[in-house]
Subunit: 157 residues, 2 copies
C-alpha cells in the first residue's frame, strides 16, 4: 500500500490550495465585520495554514475578485456583501479550474455518456450531487453555521 494520504478515494478531494482557499474564505467571513480587514498572519493562524502559502492563495483569490484587499498599514483582506454569495464551486473553479464538470474518474480524456468508462453510470449520480452541493453552498451559508459554534477550521483537531 502506498503511504500517500488520500481523500475521497485515493487523493484529497480538494487540493491543499483549494482546502485552504475555502477555509480562508469562511474564516474571513466569520471574523470580519463588513469592511474590517484581516491580516495574512491572522488568517494563517486561524485556519492552520502556512503563512506564505496562504498568502499566495489569497493573492489568487484577490485577483479573481472573490475577496478584496488593501495594502499598507491597517490593510488586509475583507469581504464585501456581494462576496458572501460566493459558492464553493466558485472557489474550486478559481483554484483548480472547471475540470470537475468533465473529468472521468478512471482517467479517460473526458467524461461523457458517448464514451463511458466502466464506472461512468455508477458515478454519474454521485457527481451530480457533488456539483449540486458545491454550487448551492455559499460562504454566507457557512458563515451562519459557524456562528452556531460547532464547526472547526483548523487542520489539527
Amino acid at each position: 500500500m502506498r503511504s500517500y494520504i488520500c481523500g475521497i478515494f485515493s487523493n484529497d478531494m480538494f487540493s491543499k490550495s483549494c482546502e485552504y482557499a475555502i477555509k480562508a474564505m469562511i474564516f474571513i467571513a466569520q471574523k470580519s465585520q463588513p469592511e474590517t480587514r484581516i491580516s495574512i498572519k491572522e488568517i494563517a493562524g486561524g485556519i492552520g495554514a502556512p503563512e506564505h502559502f496562504i498568502a499566495k492563495i489569497l493573492q489568487e483569490l484577490s485577483r479573481k475578485k472573490l475577496l478584496h484587499s488593501i495594502k499598507g498599514p491597517n490593510g488586509g483582506f475583507y469581504l464585501t456583501k456581494a462576496d458572501y454569495k460566493t459558492s464553493l464551486a466558485d472557489i474550486v473553479k478559481v483554484m483548480d479550474g472547471d475540470k470537475i464538470y468533465n473529468v472521468c474518474v478512471l482517467g479517460l480524456k473526458s467524461c461523457s455518456p458517448k464514451n463511458p468508462c466502466p464506472v461512468h453510470d455508477e458515478y454519474k449520480e454521485i457527481k451530480k450531487n457533488l456539483i449540486s452541493m458545491i454550487e448551492k453552498n455559499t460562504i454566507g451559508t457557512f458563515n451562519q453555521k459557524l456562528h452556531s459554534g460547532k464547526l472547526h477550521l483548523k487542520t489539527r483537531n
Copy 2:
C-alpha cells in the same frame, strides 16, 4: 488558475495507480477465460498505461491476492473465479489505503461528527453514496457490462 488537472474537485478522484489498477482488473477479467494468462504488455496496451508502471501495480495487486500470476514462458496474469468478487473498494484499499472512510474533505485530521468541518454535513451523504458505490460494484459486474460492448478503458478517446 493552476494548470494541474484535477478530478472530482481539484484532484483526481483516484490516484493514477488506482485508476490503472481498476482498469487492469477489469481488462483482465474481460480478456481472460478462466486460467488464461495475459501478459503485462497486453494489459498495458489494452488499458493505455505505461508498461513498467502497470507492472509495479500488478505486482502490488498480486501481493495482495487480488489477482494471480505465473512466471516464465506462457506465464502472465489471470483471475480466479473468486477474484471476480473483488469490489472497487478492495482495489482502492490496496492501492491507496482506507482513508476514504475517515478523511475530511477540508483536510482536518479526521472526519467525524464530533469535530465537523464546515462542509461536513453537506458532504456526509455524498460520501455515503460513494462508499456504497465502490463496495457494491465488483469486477464481475463490470465484466458483464463490458461484454455489452459500449464501455471504454483506454485513456485516449
